[in-house]
Symmetry: C2
Subunit: 246 residues, 2 copies
C-alpha cells in the first residue's frame, strides 16, 4: 500500500539499512546521538520491530551504530587507531588522537595459572599469577576490557599500587623493567556474559580479542594480557619491516 522506495528485490531490511546509513553519513544523525526508539522507527518504516531490529543489527555489525543495554541505539564514534608497534601506552595512544581515556580497575587477585596461561607464558605447572581486570573508556564509552596476568615473581606487591595508570609505566618506574618484544594473537569472537556486562553489550556481540605476551629486553616473559575490544571501536595497524625477513 505505502509507496515504499524499494526497487526490485531489495529487501526491507536493506532499504531501512540504507536509509539510516544515509542519515548518519549526511550528519543528520550525529556521532554519539541516540536513535529514536525501536517502536518509533518501526512505525516510521512501516514494519515490525523484528524486521527493524534486523536492520539495526546489520548496521551495528558494520559498525555505524551500537546499542547500550536497555538504553537504545547510538551512532558510533570514530575508531581508535591501535598501532601494535607503539608499546601499549593506552592513555597516550588515546590522547594523541584527541580523545579522552579513563581506566578503571575492576578487580585484582592472585590465582593459579590456567593450563593455557602456563603454556603461553612458559610457566611451571601450578604457578601463581597476579590477575588484574581493568575496563578502559574512550570519551566515556566502555571500549576495552582487559585481563592482565603478571608473573608475581617479577612484580611482587604490584597489586598494592595505583593500577589505573599504564602497567608498562609501572614496570619502568617501580621495577626498572623495560618491555621489549611482544607477540599478539588477534581474532574475532563474541562476548560472553561477563565481558558483555562490563562493556555494556548484549551477550553474543562481536568482539575483537587480542592476546598479548610481553617480554623484557632479556627475553623474559613478563605478562600476558587478554584484551576484549568492542569490534567497532578499533582499527589495528601494523608495520612489518623488511629486517624481519630472511
Amino acid at each position: 500500500m505505502t509507496h515504499t522506495v524499494t526497487k526490485k528485490s531489495a529487501t526491507q531490511v536493506v532499504t531501512i539499512y540504507q536509509a539510516l546509513l544515509a542519515q548518519i553519513i549526511s550528519g543528520t544523525l550525529a556521532t554519539g546521538s541516540k536513535l529514536p526508539s525501536e517502536r518509533e522507527l518501526s512505525s516510521l518504516f512501516a514494519t515490525t520491530r523484528i524486521t527493524l531490529r534486523e536492520a539495526l543489527q546489520r548496521m551495528a555489525m558494520e559498525g555505524s551504530i551500537y546499542r547500550e543495554s536497555r538504553r537504545g541505539w547510538f551512532v558510533t564514534p570514530p575508531r581508535l587507531e591501535y598501532n601494535l608497534i607503539t608499546k601499549s601506552l593506552f592513555h597516550q595512544m588515546v590522547e594523541s588522537q584527541g580523545r579522552k581515556a579513563v581506566t578503571q580497575v575492576i578487580s585484582t587477585s592472585t590465582e593459579l595459572a590456567s593450563p593455557e596461561l602456563c603454556r603461553k607464558m612458559k610457566l611451571l605447572p601450578l604457578s601463581k599469577l597476579h590477575r588484574i581486570r581493568r575496563l578502559r573508556y574512550v570519551d566515556g564509552r566502555a571500549t576495552v576490557f582487559v585481563e592482565h596476568h603478571l608473573n608475581p615473581v617479577i612484580f611482587p606487591d604490584i597489586l598494592k599500587m595505583d593500577l589505573t595508570e599504564s602497567l608498562t609505566l609501572i614496570y619502568q618506574k617501580q621495577y626498572g623493567i623495560q618491555c621489549g618484544r611482544a607477540t599478539f594473537d588477534i581474532y574475532p569472537t563474541a562476548a560472553d556474559a561477563s565481558v558483555a556486562h562490563h562493556l555494556n553489550l548484549a551477550e553474543g556481540s562481536p568482539l575483537l580479542m587480542i592476546i598479548r605476551v610481553n617480554y623484557d629486553q632479556n627475553g623474559r616473559i613478563l605478562d600476558c594480557d587478554r584484551e576484549f575490544w568492542r569490534h567497532d571501536a578499533v582499527r589495528i595497524s601494523v608495520d612489518v619491516g623488511s629486517e624481519a625477513f630472511n
Copy 2:
C-alpha cells in the same frame, strides 16, 4: 508446560546455545557436519524458529558454526593461523597447517585508482591500477575474498599471466622484485552484497578486513590488497621485535 531445563534467568537462547555447544565440543557434531534443519531444531528445543535462529546466530558470531546461504548450518573447521611476518604466501601458509588451498581468479581489469587508493599508494591523481579479484578456498570452503591493486608501471602485462599462484612469487620470478616492508590495517566490518555473495555469506555477516600495502626492498610501493576474511576462519599472529623500539 514442557519440562525445560532452564534455571532461573537463563534465557532460552542461552540454553539452546549451550546445548548445541556441548554437542560440538563433545564431538557429537563433527567439524564440517551439517546441523539438522531449523524447523527440526526449533521443535527439538520446543521454541520458534526466530528464537532458535537467535541462538544459531550467536554461535555463528562466536565462530562455532557458520551458515551457507540457503543450505543450512555447519560446524566450523579450525581457524587458520595467519602470521603477518611470513610474506603472504597463501598456499604455503595453508599447506603448512595441513590444509588444502585453492585460488580462483574472479576478475581482472585496469581502472582509475580511487581517491582512497591514491592516498594509500601515494599515486598521482588519475593514475591507473590493475585490479585483480580472487577468491581463496581452504579445504573447499570459500575463506578469503581479495582485491589486489597493482601499479601497472611496475607490473606491465601481469594480467596475462597465470594469476592462480602467489602474486609474491610472480613478482620474484617474472619481474625480479622482492617484497620488503608491508603495512597492515585490520578491522572488523560486515559483508556487503558483493563480498557476501562470493564468500557465500549472508549480507551483513561479520568479516575481518585486512588492508595491506606491500613495498619492495627499495621502499617503492608495489601494490595494495584488501582482504576480506570470514571472521571465523582466521587467527592473526604478529611478533613485534624489540628492534622496532626506541
